[in-house]
């Protein structure tokens, strides 16, 4: 119980591909670059960033869909630590039971040719959590009811459900193995506001009931603010700010975080009218050839030491308790 549930240290994932006539040049897309954080039980970590920052790749690497190039991921579900990068064969099953994922697109996250009973029942079957058809069926019904669906839905097909309902089915599937940690990749981006509210409430209730942790990946700061205890801001593969959610939102330190917060439209006209607007110049640099030194320097509005920012890449440093930043301003 001493170690956090999940510890990620210096996690790196590159994608390589070759260009050039005879495949001479190899390019590396640095999707996840030296990422470190830890997650306690019953807590939610929000990972925010815009498209291309690598948060989806990070999520998929955590779940095991990608193999990291370097760094470590340590999972400690019950006292014993498991190395997720090179697990032993008998640990694989534990990993799969412990960590699950909910996907973004309700259209493509469920196999259109499978009935719901098979979709939600697949984890039960593969992980051998139930024996026989009847047990599996009753367990599936239980899960469906937990997410607010009805028992008769088990024989239906995904196309018969709305987007919000499909997301719930995805959540039911993730819950099937009673995981300790769920990675949610933009779970509410594709649904309407009121459906989003229902899904978020459901997620919070489930977290309380089942002592689960979440890694909540989103580009929507409003949603992350609502859900997360801790937040990590990602830019071009690196974490630029990381800390307690309230602290980061009330006192953003990294210029990118500040810009992100100012760009977020808030449903409060008075707030909007008096908001200080920070407009980032330039566009997102190419992830294959990121800027030297601090990757954000090409767009930074608070460039403090041009030489240093262009040549040296800052590390995450604790500026106040539970609040780290990777920026030369705070040296």
């Amino acid at each position: 119980m001493d170690r956090p549930l999940l510890e990620v240290k210096n996690l790196t994932k590159y994608f390589s591909f070759q260009r050039g006539l005879f495949r001479k040049e190899t390019f590396y897309l640095r999707a996840v670059d030296d990422v470190s954080f830890s997650l306690e039980r019953k807590k939610t970590l929000g990972i925010v960033g815009e498209s291309g920052c690598g948060k989806t790749t990070l999520g998929k690497t955590l779940v095991g869909l990608y193999k990291p190039d370097s760094g470590s991921i340590t999972l400690t579900p019950d006292g014993k630590s498991i190395d997720m990068v090179n697990p032993k064969d008998d640990e694989l099953k534990t990993i799969r039971k412990t960590i699950q994922m909910v996907f973004q697109d309700p259209q493509s996250s469920l196999n259109p040719r499978w009935p719901i009973r098979n979709i939600v029942g697949e984890p039960l079957e593969i992980l051998k959590l139930t024996r026989g058809r009847k047990e599996k069926e009753s367990r599936v019904i239980e899960l469906l009811e937990t997410v607010g669906l009805k028992p008769e839905h088990i024989n239906r097909y995904p196309h018969e459900f709305s987007g919000g309902q499909r997301q719930r089915i995805g959540i039911a599937r993730a819950l099937a193995s009673q995981p300790d940690l769920i990675v949610l990749d933009e779970p509410t981006s594709a649904v309407d506001v009121s459906v989003q509210a229902q899904v978020l409430n459901l997620l919070r209730d489930l977290q309380k009931e089942r002592n689960m942790s979440y890694i909540f990946i989103s580009h929507d700061l409003g949603v992350v603010h609502h859900m997360a205890d801790e937040i990590a801001v990602q830019y071009l593969g690196q974490i630029v700010e990381y800390g307690d959610s309230e602290k980061v939102f009330n006192n953003p330190l990294h210029p990118y975080t500040k810009a992100l917060l100012s760009a977020l439209p808030v449903a409060d006209p008075e707030f909007e009218a008096h908001k200080k607007r920070i407009i980032l110049k330039g566009t997102l640099p190419n992830a294959i050839n990121p800027p030297s030194g601090c990757r954000f320097h090409t767009r930074c509005q608070e460039l403090v030491d041009e030489k240093r920012c262009k040549s040296e890449c800052p590390m995450l440093r604790e500026v106040e308790k539970d609040h780290k930043v990777a920026c030369w301003i705070y040296d």
Binding site: K60, V63, G64, L65, L92, K93, R96, Q100, M101, F103, Q104, D105, S108, S109, L110, N111, P112, R113, I119, E122, P123, I126, L127, I141, K150, P151, E152, R156, Y157, H159, E160, G170, R173, S177
Partner: protein
């Protein structure tokens, strides 16, 4: 809690009703098939008008039976949304051309199934038919007779069996190979994909027609091999050279489906439900077939339908050239080649006309049906 109890009872009743329905259906089907087998002894009934009527009634009974079965099944398993089968059928019927195609295909299928009944004369050749050679169409011979004295109409009926068996047989085998290879190639990518793909390209670039001609020609030139193959194939009940054609079509037919499936697999394997299966720890084969292959079937059926048309046409062409069916097999292509020699004399036009029309209609039917299925499956098409 009480909701679950109600639901369980509902499910139980549904299951019981379904079981009853299936048992009844099986019984009726069995009876109908027995009746059909009795009908095979067509020597009992000579008047072909009566025969056609009996066949017609038989088909009508089956249609009614299936219709009732479907309706009952639907009542029991009622869902308040329109299921995809209904939607597909609805869309298909909206497409007039496709409906005509479907009708043609079904007619040919019935013709093939009931050829012994519908044909006027048996399939065993009788010596005294030589006297009736090359007679123009008449009441006893609606399509006339060919040079060997056989009735053209009966030959065309039996010919439909050849075309359909060949067409469907080849396509099914080709589909199995094509899907299997396509899924493996598309999923693994890399070296495996390159090898399989290259191999497929090689097969595709073979001059198919020439290859078959060479094969058959080589066989004919080698009498021993020829003997052995003829024995082997007659044990299968098939004409030796036709068997060659069948094999050749199978071996060279799968690249089309392979490419189709491989292309689809590239996009399917990126879908979230595949990732979800991986996260849960599904085995490779489970992912490949239960998740990916199953989702490629839609367009594959379209390619298959069009493929059947292609096979029929190719077989007809080869038989026409003399490289397929021989004199004992009433392939439409072979009949056409006979008619070809007489085509300059308008008196004998019927020899080429009827096989030609049969071929034309059949291929047209399959092609339009395939187009119709493709349109009906496409989710973006809005009526």
């Amino acid at each position: 809690m009480s909701e679950i109890v109600d639901f369980k009872k509902l499910e139980e009743t549904k299951k019981k009703l379904n079981r009853k329905l299936y048992a009844q259906a099986a019984l009726v089907a069995l009876v109908l098939i027995l009746v059909r087998m009795l009908l095979i002894s067509r020597d009992n009934i000579d008047n072909w008008g009566l025969r056609l009527a009996i066949v017609g009634v038989y088909i009508l009974i089956w249609y009614l039976f299936l219709d009732q079965l479907y309706k009952r099944w639907r009542d029991i398993n009622y869902k308040d949304e329109r299921n995809p089968i209904d939607r597909f059928v609805h869309r298909l019927y909206h497409n007039k051309l496709a409906t005509v195609g479907l009708f043609i295909v079904l007619s040919v299928a019935i013709l093939a199934l009931f050829a012994p009944e519908i044909a006027l004369y048996g399939s065993e050749y009788q010596a005294d038919w030589k006297d009736y050679a090359l007679m123009p169409p008449s009441r006893e011979h609606p399509f006339g007779t060919v040079s060997s004295g056989e009735d053209l109409f009966s030959l065309i009926c039996y010919g439909s069996q050849i075309s359909l068996v060949l067409g469907i047989g080849v396509e099914v085998i080709v589909a199995v190979i094509g899907i299997a290879l396509g899924v493996i190639s598309g999923y693994y990518g890399g070296a495996i994909d390159k090898i399989i793909h290259y191999f497929t390209d090689v097969i595709m670039s073979f001059p198919f027609l020439i290859l078959v001609i060479v094969l058959v020609g080589a066989l004919r030139a080698n009498p021993d091999l020829n003997e052995r193959i003829i024995d082997f194939s007659s044990s299968l009940g098939m004409d030796a050279h036709l068997l060659m054609v069948f094999l050749a079509l199978t071996v060279f037919g799968w690249p089309g489906i392979f490419r189709q499936v491989r292309g689809q697999v590239f996009s399917i394997k990126e879908r979230d439900y595949v990732a979800a299966a991986k996260v849960v720890g599904a085995s490779r084969s489970s992912i490949l077939f239960r998740h990916i292959a199953i989702n490629t079937l839609g367009p594959v059926i379209v390619v298959m339908t069009l493929g059947i048309a292609g096979v029929i046409l190719t077989e007809a062409g080869l038989s026409f050239l003399g490289f397929g069916a021989d004199i004992t097999t009433p392939s439409w292509g072979r009949l056409l080649s006979e008619g070809n020699s007489f085509v300059t004399q308008s008196k004998y036009l019927y020899l080429a006309l009827f096989p030609g029309i049969a071929l034309f209609l059949t291929i047209l039917g399959f092609t339009t049906l395939g187009d119709g299925i493709r349109d009906a499956i496409d989710p973006r098409l809005k009526l």
